[in-house]
Symmetry: C2
Subunit: 304 residues, 2 copies
């Protein structure tokens, strides 16, 4: 005699190696949000295809669980190890590319990175953002234009970078002044911006965690070539997040987060011109990195 | 004049939406361990294909980072949220299936689950593993055989289960006695095992964390149908990890970790036979779950 009455039974197709993804996707049928349903369905398809390709042992599966756990546990208010993981696997750059399919005229984009965690202070054009003086003094200047070449007066330029030792202020709170090498500038009536800073140095991403171990076992270095981060915004235009890379820096051919695009590399030139020096508020000769930025106009009301 | 000398430049093919996976895979060329190289290459291929399929916004990418971070931070000595995530996405069952391609004669396998975290105490055949008496008393009995039908004397049977309230001992350290509903038994000279226990109850996997939220937004319940966990081992045979599921239990058709296989469902029968009752050390009538287990022999020295 059976004590329990007849209950629900597994369907025709219980779980097997062959139909695993289909069974899991079937369990998602009541997902209300259609976008979420699409994302989860695609995740299950790709994840199961990956597992079937590599055929992990139980020990390898456990290693994967341990690695992901260590990545999560390394995260804190000042450290985002999953962003680093996304960066070194090229996912961050891929998401950036997908979200920035723009005109050929517009400046190329690259990742925002993990160090834009504090707001840049408002500064006047020509201000010196190097508060610790660590690095070779340098002027950073350019013009913000629309795709058709029209200058964009009053465009905002948010700039942040590492110092001459390769560290951001937030990495060295006891060494660098607060908001060192950060500034938010408004372009002049001709869309021009200029500021004083130092030549940035290449640097390793934080590599004392599980992502650093992953780089080590895959024979990769943790370094990024020297760069200045820029976010440019102007009314009626798509905001743009990019870097300018320093020509000649080590690691331009092997940025560990895949952020380099050739179009974003600029030389540090030495300018011996007293008139330009006076305009920038420095003495001649001076070092200069020039970087013009082209923004795509947003579609007008009738094109939306 | 350029201050820095000519340095390394990005290769012919810098990162783009089209070639993203290829660029990242190229960065893995110095991975020494060939197996790791294969796994990482496959990971990058499938991960980039997934991202290209769903085309996440920056906000969605951030949501994914936040979710994975929350999963990692929920992990502790007594909670493994990434194992739960693997379970509810069907990955654990898929890894189980890949690692248990066995003969049709052998008992089907299923996942070990997260509650085999303490060793089962050695017990005599017929012992009662229900130390709290919470649930309907029941005998659990069966025979361990080789694929050709030969009984396996002295085979080991490791058993653990939830009580009549649906909780394992380790989930209720202040309520249940230590090692409640766990036991390690040696089969008799005819490969038979029997023990006293209670009928297990269905239960939810721990759903107060990010994995529980994922189930909720995808319209899934967190429950597993009632089951007893078994690991069976015998000399010269492949060890086998499985469950016996209770016929008639809710959720047999929708186990949230996809662990149910039809071949593993058994009824709770009521037996009114004084001779069998005496053999099991109980009074008639009594409840009985019978579950025979068939193990595959390991290849002999000449077939290895």
């Amino acid at each position: 005699m059976t004590v329990h009455g007849p209950g629900a039974e597994p369907g025709e197709h219980s779980f097997s190696e062959e139909n695993s993804a289909r069974v899991v996707i079937e369990s998602l049928r009541n997902t209300r949000d259609e976008r979420l349903k699409y994302v989860l369905t695609s995740l299950v398809e790709h994840l199961h295809a990956f597992v079937k390709d590599i055929e992990p042992s139980h020990a390898e599966w456990q290693q994967a669980v341990d690695f992901l756990t260590a990545v999560g546990q390394k995260c804190s208010d000042t450290r985002q190890e999953f962003v680093l993981l996304s960066d070194v696997l090229g996912v961050s750059m891929l998401v950036d590319a997908i979200n920035n399919r723009r005109s050929t005229a517009a400046t190329d984009t690259t990742v925002v990175g993990p160090f834009h965690m504090v707001e840049s202070p408002r500064r006047e054009l020509g201000a010196n953002i190097s508060l610790d003086g660590n690095g070779e003094p340098c002027v950073f200047a350019g013009q913000i234009r629309s795709a058709d070449g029209t200058p964009l007066p009053g465009a905002l330029v948010d700039v942040w970078q590492a110092n001459g030792a390769g560290y951001y202020d937030v990495q060295q709170p006891d060494v660098q002044p607060e908001r060192n090498l950060r500034g938010l500038f408004s372009a002049d009536e001709r869309g021009r911006f200029w500021l004083r800073t130092v030549v940035p140095r290449y640097y390793p991403i934080p590599d004392d965690g599980p992502v650093g171990q992953l780089l080590a076992v895959s024979g990769r270095h943790p370094n990024r070539p020297a760069h200045i981060h820029v976010i440019a915004e102007a009314a009626g235009h798509a905001a743009l997040t990019t870097h300018v890379f320093v020509e000649g820096s080590p690691y331009l051919d092997s940025d560990t987060v895949f952020g380099v695009k050739r179009s974003l590399i600029r030389p540090v030139t030495v300018v011996d011109d007293p008139i330009r020096a006076e305009h920038y508020g420095v003495d001649a000769p001076f070092r200069l990195i020039e970087f013009d930025i082209v923004l795509d106009p947003l579609p007008g009301p009738d094109q939306r």
